[in-house]
Amino acid sequence: MIRFLLRRIGQFIITFLAASFLLFAVTEFSPGTVASKILGPYAVSSQVDLLTEKLHLGDPLLLRYLRWLGIVAGVVENPLGDPAIGLGLSDPRGNRYVGNFGYSLMLKEPVVDVVGERIGYTALLTLLAILVIIPVSLAAGVAAGVNPGRPIDRVLSMGAVILTSLPEFVVAVALLLVGVVWLGLLPGTSPMTQGGRWPLSLQLVLPVGVLVIASASYVLRIVRASVADTMRKPYVRTALLKGLKRRDIILHHVLRNAMIPPITVILLQINWLLTGVVVVESIFAYPGVGSLLLQAALFGDIYLVQALTLLALLVAVGTQLIGDLCYLALDPKIKLG
């Protein structure tokens, strides 16, 4: 057990490091791009040369990646904070601390501060969405799965296929049309500022609603398939023939066994939610890290993009690890191989 855990954690670290190298390679592949992203298109060549020298942009990619890891880990000083470069970037924490992702070129502030201000909003949005998605999709999925082929199953399954087919922005347009334009009950943007016409709770309804509609239908389909599959198992038949009540069979025999695949899917769904969050936050002008990532990418703010992508990677790879552990805890048959 301990050995299995250690091996999974080792794999987690290797995947994460490899992914971070890929990220670094894509964002900082050519030294010329790095200098022009930092200095802007009208930089004088003497400035470019100074920056190239200070940041060691001429070094091989692997060396630059290792130095970047060192800066993030707080071992190496970030040269960008050097006043001699003349960019006016400074960090109250100094140039060497754990989690030093450099400076946002778009906002001229340390990346940690920029991300810190907005991460709470995204966490809130995602958490609320998950809190709605899990009960809704479990209830609907079980209701459809224990009645395979009946009208309730057909309606729910068909509805779920249609809803999973809709891109987030299409769902958003539909909800905006109903909630904002026709009924006038909800705000069309969610900047999460207080004191305006709309309380914060109402500002959250549409962004959470879009995430729920886009994700719950998929989880529902997985739950339905798993429950319907379990219902056909011999032990369920035996329980039925033994004269147990249908309710008891479903509650005690079917659900525990049928929940194993959906739990991993729900955790993987967090990966999908991160995608949805970028779209939803951008549509509703929600002040989270998803819309920030898009703005940073469009601006060419490489350091902010690196930090936010690493954050997304950490969440995505971390949930996979947790998913494996849940799987292990729920299913005693799984070999620790």
């Binding site: 995947t15 299409v170 539909a174 990966n271 991160l274 995608t275 990532l293 990418a297 993009v305």
Partner: protein, 274 residues
């Protein structure tokens, strides 16, 4: 052959609806120059004064007076160029990596599997955002991004099926005949692995329609004069309260095509299970 295919489709209403939607949009894309009533990029400010649907413009015009119906029709052509190319390229790469990985195993398999894990660790949309902003939005770059993001998933499926089929008698027979590994992988194993791969192809085609729409919506799609469904939505979403038709029709177009792909995948999967 044709008759069996038709008979199987007629047994599965969802596959039938799916195929109808996909073929219908395909015809629209093919015949775009013949059936579009206006030039999709022709700006007409006189028409923009009253953009709502009318006899002259059946689905109305957008805020610059461009005919929405014509832009939808030409947008179908854009979609039918980008999506098949991107999905085919992802499947070619995924199959070329996954089948040998499953057949040979060993270090090649380990390498492909670890690389897939690394790429699959990224949330999909983030791959596109980073790549497209690094490379710039163009047809080729969208294809590259989709290939990079989907090939690992495809190769994983291809590898899994190959692993199961490798032990079949006909593979042993071919090996005993002295056939080359290349022949066995792509003439013996691949044709027998097509079922799950075709279902996955339909699903991924649907995702790619969503994805290209989303990229267009986020401003990362093909550059502006190209009529693009996602781009049409983002240009007009802020006008919903006064002119809902501008954003709603392209949304319906995207949704119907993705629903078509998913229904087809669903139908094929159920038929395959029988």
């Amino acid at each position: 052959m044709m008759r069996t295919i038709l008979r199987r489709f007629s047994r599965s209403p969802s596959a039938l609806i799916g195929v109808t939607l996909i073929v219908a949009w395909g015809l629209v894309a093919l015949l775009a120059p013949l059936i579009a009533p206006y030039d999709p990029s022709a700006i007409d400010f006189a028409a923009a004064a009253d953009p709502h649907p009318s006899l002259a413009h059946w689905l109305g015009t957008d805020s610059s007076g461009r005919d929405v119906l014509s832009r939808l029709i030409w947008g179908a052509r854009t979609t039918y160029i980008v999506v098949p190319l991107a999905v085919m390229s992802a499947f070619a790469a995924g199959i070329l990596l996954g089948v040998p990985a499953g057949y040979f195993g060993g270090w090649f398999d380990a390498l492909v599997s670890r690389l897939s894990d690394v790429i699959l660790a990224f949330p999909a949309l983030i791959i596109y955002i980073i790549l497209i902003t690094a490379l710039g939005p163009s047809l080729l770059n969208i294809i590259i991004a989709v290939t990079l993001a989907y090939a690992p998933g495809v190769s994983r499926i291809a590898r899994g099926i190959t692993l199961a089929l490798r032990e079949q008698d006909y593979v042993a027979a071919a090996q005993a005949r002295g056939e080359s590994s290349l022949y066995i992988m792509f003439a013996e194993i691949l044709p027998n692995a097509r079922g799950p791969l075709i279902v996955d192809l339909c699903l991924r085609a649907g995702y790619t329609v969503i994805l290209t729409g989303t990229l267009g919506f986020l401003g990362l799609g093909l550059p502006p004069p190209t009529p693009d469904w996602g781009g049409m939505v983002v240009e007009s979403a802020h006008l919903l309260p006064i002119a809902w038709h501008m954003a709603v029709f392209p949304c319906v177009a995207i949704a119907s095509l993705v629903i078509g792909c998913n229904l087809l995948a669903d139908g094929l999967r159920k038929e395959g299970l029988k």
